[in-house]
Amino acid sequence: MSDSSETSTPIPEPEQVHGLLAEYSTPQQLIAAARRIRDAGYSRWDSYSPFPVHGIDPAMGIRPTVLPWIVFAAGLTGGTGALALQWWTSSVDYRWIVSGKPFFSIPANIPITFELTVLSASLTCLLGMLLMNKLPMLAHPLDRSRRFARVTDDRFFVLVQASDPKFDAKDTAGLLQATSPRGPIEVVMEDTKSSNVIPRGIVYALLVLATAAIVPFALSALARVSTSEQTRLDIVPDMDFQQKFKAQRENTFFADKRAMRLPVEGTVAVGELRDDDHFYTGKVDGTFAKTFPSQIEISDATMELGRKRFGTYCTPCHGVDGSGQGMVHQRARSLMQGTWVQPADLRQDKDIYRSVGELFDNISRGVRNMPAYERQIDTQDRWAIILYLRALQRSQSAHLEDVPQAERGALK
């Protein structure tokens, strides 16, 4: 820091002068001075204050910044980009079915679109403001003025640059003097000593850091193309080796070396006793039963239970009418699944004449594409479904003559 800039006269060689600096005590004085300099037709000048002075923009003739439009464009880009990202990843590149929901639907994608719009606009707002203000600018001729240090505290300044076409050392100084500044007009010299060049030590440190940053990437790249004799490192052994056995694994503790254990011989778990073939398997003496077991009461209540269970478990594939045109089938058709097999039409003759025991077996153990429902539907309920199915089959292939005389009028 030199003290040469503290004197007002004589003015040194013009090419070394950066500009003339005037100091003011209040924002009102600053505004008054700015008006005069603006009216005098100067263009390369600026005023400086510790806080944004209300009314300085018109006084200086500052036009509204284009920053809002840049931010708006950035927000649009962020929003569009977010939508494109979500659309491409989830419905083109990595299709992942979740409960049959559409791969791309605006409502589920609104939150992230909104967040990325705001993020993009905000970052642009800050960076745009800094870049348009030519920041960071770590060195400036004004830094050599001791008085100017108070610009961030409580003083107000005007600097008219020597590069202004209207600049004339004497005239400009006179104009500034006429705005009744605080203290003398100061000549600000060009900064020839310090520069914007980064100190060499910092440059070397950054270079070393940048080189060191490559090392981990280089090591992992090397690991990908080379082999190693050593076993892999278990950074978290508790996670890699857990004290438990998984299904179907070996366990040398037992003679049969199975981790999964069979029930003790000659025992039956509570509620697992199945000593009635007709009721539990639908078979009598090894062949499918033609009648309902005695545990099933043929009644309206059983029929209603069957209707409910059919609605829950059967309609998704077989449809409410048993035609095999359920929602799953329609969805598969709309997706044009080539390997899709249509669920059975339960109204066909072969199903109508299939014995109740065989139907029970089909529901319990599954058939073709249909999975086993033994674990999902109670035994009682499976029989109830068959009872309802019988009624459904009759109603679906019924003739007008089957309807009681009194009801026929309503159907005609």
Binding site: P50, L67, Y94, V118, L123, L135, V151
Partner: protein, 472 residues
């Protein structure tokens, strides 16, 4: 008075002189009257805290305690990575326990700062300038504490980057339809934007510290951070525009963050979580807890650092009014949850709420109700609103209550599943406590360092709203 005389040694010296802090009495600070030129007084009152060679003893004690707690965090997290999340009490059926409670707790606290800086700015509430800087700092530190938890509760804490859409060799992408991924974007964006907002506000004030700096190191470090800000009118013009835009962008963001956090629960089908009142209820609760935390921090800070001249009692009173209003909203939400449970006629929902109030977690529920609904009602009285001790106690209670609110929502709903066979009771372990305490260590350490090394009040904004700045 000597102290006041020393305030402005350059007064009446038009040529200007070498600035010097010599002879200034930092210890026996006396509040100067705000006279014709209040700007220097504002600068001095705030920047003095950063410049004083020795901060108050309370600062050292508080930092010592905070660092001990921070060590507890480091130890807990190291053991967690080593051993796995089984060290916590998190267990079936309460599979979302303290980590999520603490996450929501900290994110909620982190709402005050940006609300004060953005929404109150747009509403032209000039009193915000006294507290917005500290509140924004608090926001950023709270969100940092919050972000610790989602990162560590994922089972394999070294893989949190899987949450982000980074092209990878597995050719997999995050599930953008999941509220958990919305959370990643909402909290991440909130943190980034809050940091931008905070840093932007700091630039002019850091420049003030740079210009007053005595040592080379200070001038270099603060000079680098100030980016060469010199307060040009053309720069201020763009700065103010940018500030207004950031405030406008942050306003919907503040409201969205806790709404998205509430979606984690609201879009599930668990009774007690599956409810549409959650987004507004969570936002009100977040503002409630955030304002309480701002007061908890600022009451001692203004006392120890002599900032009463800037952070006035009436500012704290304003905060208390907001706490009263949001606390009442939270109370309304509690009542409305019960009403909907009854009106909705879902037996599971009804059971959940009766179980909350009278089941095994009744102690937590009534702690929450008394801390959040009953005690803040004392703020109706001006005597309580303007009494520092009373507001300190109530604000701490509010934060206790808000932690319990999240605990009640998460634990009671999970502990009573649809199936009585999977009912359970959550018991935390010592590691749950040490991790949670550790985040307080992180929070207070960061805040204490902020108080010491960065200006606690936005001096440029306080100056700009001063009547003298407008020629009055």
């Amino acid at each position: 008075m000597a102290a006041v005389g020393n305030l402005d040694p350059w007064q009446g010296d038009p040529a200007g002189q070498e600035r010097s802090n010599e002879g200034r009495d930092y210890r026996s600070w006396q509040e100067p009257p705000l006279g014709d030129n209040p700007f220097a007084h504002i600068t001095d009152a705030v920047i003095r805290v950063v410049e004083t060679p020795k901060p108050p003893r309370a600062w050292y004690i508080a930092l010592g305690v905070s660092l001990c707690w921070l060590v507890s965090l480091v130890v807990s997290l190291s053991y967690l990575v080593w051993k796995g999340i089984g060290i916590w009490g998190t267990m079936h059926p309460v599979a979302w326990a303290w980590p999520i409670v603490n996450f929501v707790f900290w994110v909620g606290i982190g709402h005050a700062g940006t609300l004060i800086s953005a929404i109150l700015f747009l509403l032209r509430q000039t009193w915000r300038t006294a507290i917005n800087r500290a509140a924004e700092a608090m926001t950023i530190f709270a969100v940092i504490c919050a972000l610790v938890f989602p990162a560590i509760h994922i089972g394999r804490p070294w893989l949190p980057y899987w949450l982000l859409p980074i092209p990878n060799q597995m050719e997999m992408w995050p599930q953008f339809r999941s509220p958990l991924d919305w959370d990643v974007f909402a909290v991440g964006t909130y943190f980034t934007v809050s940091l931008c907002f905070w840093f932007m506000g700091l630039i002019p004030d850091i420049a003030t510290i740079r210009d007053r700096a005595e040592s080379r190191t200070r001038r270099f470090v603060y000079g680098l951070l100030a980016l060469g800000w010199r307060g040009s009118a053309r720069q201020w013009h763009r700065y103010e525009r940018a500030y207004l835009m950031l405030a406008s962008l942050s306003t919907p963001l503040v409201l969205s963050v806790h709404s998205v956090v509430s979606f984690d629960f609201a879009t599930s089908q668990l009774p007690g979580w599956h409810t549409t009142i959650f987004p507004p209820y969570f936002v009100a609760g977040a503002i409630f807890s955030g304002f309480a935390m701002v007061n908890t921090l600022l009451i001692p800070a203004r006392e120890f650092f002599g900032l009463k001249i800037v952070i006035e009692l009436r500012h704290l009173e304003m905060m208390n009014k907001v706490i009263l209003a949001t606390g009442t909203m939270v109370g309304y939400s509690y009542a409305m949850e019960f009403f909907i449970a009854w009106y909705g006629a879902s037996p599971y929902e009804q059971f959940t709420f009766i179980n909350r109030a009278f089941g095994p977690y009744a102690w937590a529920y009534w702690t929450m109700v008394s801390c959040n609904v009953i005690f803040p009602q004392l703020f109706w009285f001006k005597k309580v609103r303007t009494n520092l001790a009373a507001m300190m106690v109530i604000c701490v209670l509010v934060n206790v209550g808000m932690w319990f609110e999240r605990f009640v929502i998460i634990s009671t709903s999970l502990a009573r599943d649809f199936l009585p066979s999977s009912w359970g009771y959550f018991v935390p372990t010592i590691w749950d406590f040490s991790t949670f305490l550790g985040t307080f260590g992180l929070f207070f350490t960061l805040f204490l360092l902020f108080c010491r090394y960065l200006p606690m009040v936005a001096t440029a904004e306080v100056k700009a709203i001063h009547p003298v700045a407008h020629g009055h």
